[in-house]
């Protein structure tokens, strides 16, 4: 599982930095390195671009895993150079950006240099596909382990729409129709009759629509035991 990111257009990044002269750069040694969006070479590349644009880079580092709690200590170690900067440019996923902002000692803008796209499954080296949007009430048990919420362009829960053609989604010939896949897999397993059941309306309150989701693992474990 990896958080997949893409670099923002440089104009957008420069827009954020318009009021800053000194910038501190942070990359991430895990997902962003793997995506070639915020590893060492990308951070150094950004450093050169900023210099070329007349900015000063007060320092840079690659945090091993920016979304980790240990980020706090990395920031403490670099406190001097960060302090000298007008802002931090984070070449990490959005969780990294928020982690950095949370643990920064002095109030200072933290700008994202990346767009966080999805949590991806690596189908082959370097090829990632979105297979889950963390909806909070998983239906994979009914859909032959193919997620209809992200893999069907209309998040349909009760079978293929009228646009499914020769295995492809109406949206693009590059997108396999999720419901064709589900159909084939269920057929293979002799489970087609399960498709006749009507899946009831979804509870989105346990998903993005319910407000910020939080979980306390320790409390959950105590209540289970």
């Amino acid at each position: 599982m990896k958080t997949i990111t893409r670099q923002k257009p440089q104009e957008e990044v420069m827009g954020y930095l318009a009021k800053c002269h000194k910038v501190y750069l942070i990359g991430c040694g895990t997902c962003a390195t793997l995506c070639h969006t915020g590893g060492k070479s990308e951070v150094l590349e950004m450093k050169e671009k900023l210099k070329a644009a007349g900015k000063e880079v007060s320092g840079w580092m690659i945090i091993p895993t920016a979304c980790d709690e240990l980020t706090k200590y990395a920031l403490q170690e670099e406190a001097q150079r960060i302090k000298a900067a007008d802002c931090v440019l984070a070449m990490t996923c959005a969780i990294g950006v928020q982690m950095i902002s949370l643990h920064l000692k002095d109030a200072k803008p933290v700008y994202p240099a990346l767009n966080t796209l999805f949590i991806g499954m690596e189908e082959s080296p370097g090829h990632f596909t979105e297979v889950c949007l963390q909806c909070g009430s998983c239906v994979l048990g009914r859909t032959a382990a193919v997620c209809p919420l992200v893999r069907c362009s209309k998040s349909l829960l009760n079978g293929p729409c009228g646009g499914s053609s020769e295995g492809k989604c109406e949206v693009s010939p590059d997108i396999p129709c999720a419901w064709q896949l589900i159909y084939e897999r269920l057929k293979e397993m002799g489970r087609l009759e399960e498709l006749e059941e009507i899946e009831p309306t979804k509870d989105w309150s346990v998903s993005v629509s319910g407000g910020p989701r939080k979980i306390d693992i320790e409390a959950e474990c105590t209540s289970l035991s």
Binding site: S153, S155, P160, G162, S164, Q180, E184, I198, P200
Partner: protein, 305 residues
């Protein structure tokens, strides 16, 4: 009677029904809808008003239906789940029924990518089958999705779409069964050009006895030009236009006459297929052909109910 609409009465009394389609304007000119209503009024039993068709913003289906209703033309309100969540859907249904609009067609809707706001958020809070189920529950149990009571009657004649030309083909009759189970009273299909495939689908439909539980209206689209035939063959999702149709259009001396001939041949064949209870004419951008088409198809006069 489920709702007692004219369309329901025509179908229940065993007439071969004719419905047509009127696309609302990309603006506020009521005359656009009124003109189409006037043109179609004597040549069909009900007129569908599309709901932001192909994801292009237009005057709302509800407003279009009301304009037709005021003219004395029977409307069918199309409703897609792409643009509204369950609150908006149920509230619009109450609004429609209160205004006397009781034929409602439940659709997924073309993906927003195809329209004029491709960066919009697709809602898809519920899907089209859940929408059918919702309408049935509102009508029969007088309850909202959440289980709370609705005050007043909610007469709805529930429509749904079917596309025998989409894949997987073998699943398409099961999908219809699911819609019937959810509560569909009538079906309007995707446009038929490949009659053989449609007939095979109808065979599966009859095997499951679905033709006796739901009224099926076969969709047709008259083709105006060879260019339109090619476009539909190559770019419109979910439609199958055989090459033969394209060739006929290309070779014809008068494309319009040939297009009309093709659709009349199709209708003649559809009428012979057991379980087909009517046709639904989607003459997009060529509405003025409908009177001649219905006349020449031998479907006049329309029943007076």
């Amino acid at each position: 009677m489920k709702a007692g609409t004219k369309l329901e009465k025509v179908l229940e009394s065993g007439h071969f029904a004719v419905t047509a389609e009127a696309g609302p304007p990309k603006g506020t000119n009521a005359e656009v809808i009124k003109k189409k209503g006037e043109l179609l009024r004597n040549y069909c039993d009900a007129v569908n008003v599309t709901d932001n068709q192909t994801a292009i913003v237009r005057l709302s289906s509800l407003a279009g239906c009301l304009l037709l209703k005021e003219q004395g033309v029977e409307p069918v309100m199309q409703m897609v789940v792409r643009d509204r969540n369950r609150l908006a859907i149920q509230s619009d249904v109450l609004g429609a029924v209160t205004l006397g609009i009781s034929n409602i067609l439940c659709l997924s809707g073309d993906h927003q990518k195809f329209g004029n706001h491709p960066t919009a958020k697709g809602v898809f809070d519920i899907d089209s089958i859940q929408l059918i189920q919702t309408l049935k529950r509102m009508r029969d149990e007088k309850k909202f999705i959440c289980g709370e009571d609705i005050s007043g009657e909610v007469p709805i004649f529930i429509g749904a779409a079917a596309n025998p030309f989409a894949d997987p083909f073998e699943y398409r009759a099961s999908r219809l069964a699911k819609k019937v189970k959810a509560g569909a009273d009538f079906i309007q299909t995707q446009a038929v050009y490949d009659v053989a495939r449609f007939a095979r689908w109808m065979e599966m439909v009859r095997e499951r006895g679905l033709d006796r539980q739901v009224h099926i209206l076969a969709g047709v689209i008259p083709i105006k030009s060879a260019g339109m035939a090619r476009y539909m063959r190559d770019y419109v999702p979910g439609v199958i236009v055989p090459d033969e149709v394209v060739t006929r259009m290309e070779k014809a001396a008068s494309a319009k006459e040939e297009g009309l001939k093709i659709v009349l041949e199709i209708i003649a064949q559809l009428k012979e297929i057991p379980g087909v209870h009517g046709i639904h004419i989607m003459a997009v951008g060529w509405e003025d052909i409908v009177p001649e088409l219905v006349e020449r198809a031998g479907l006049m006069p329309r029943p007076t109910i």
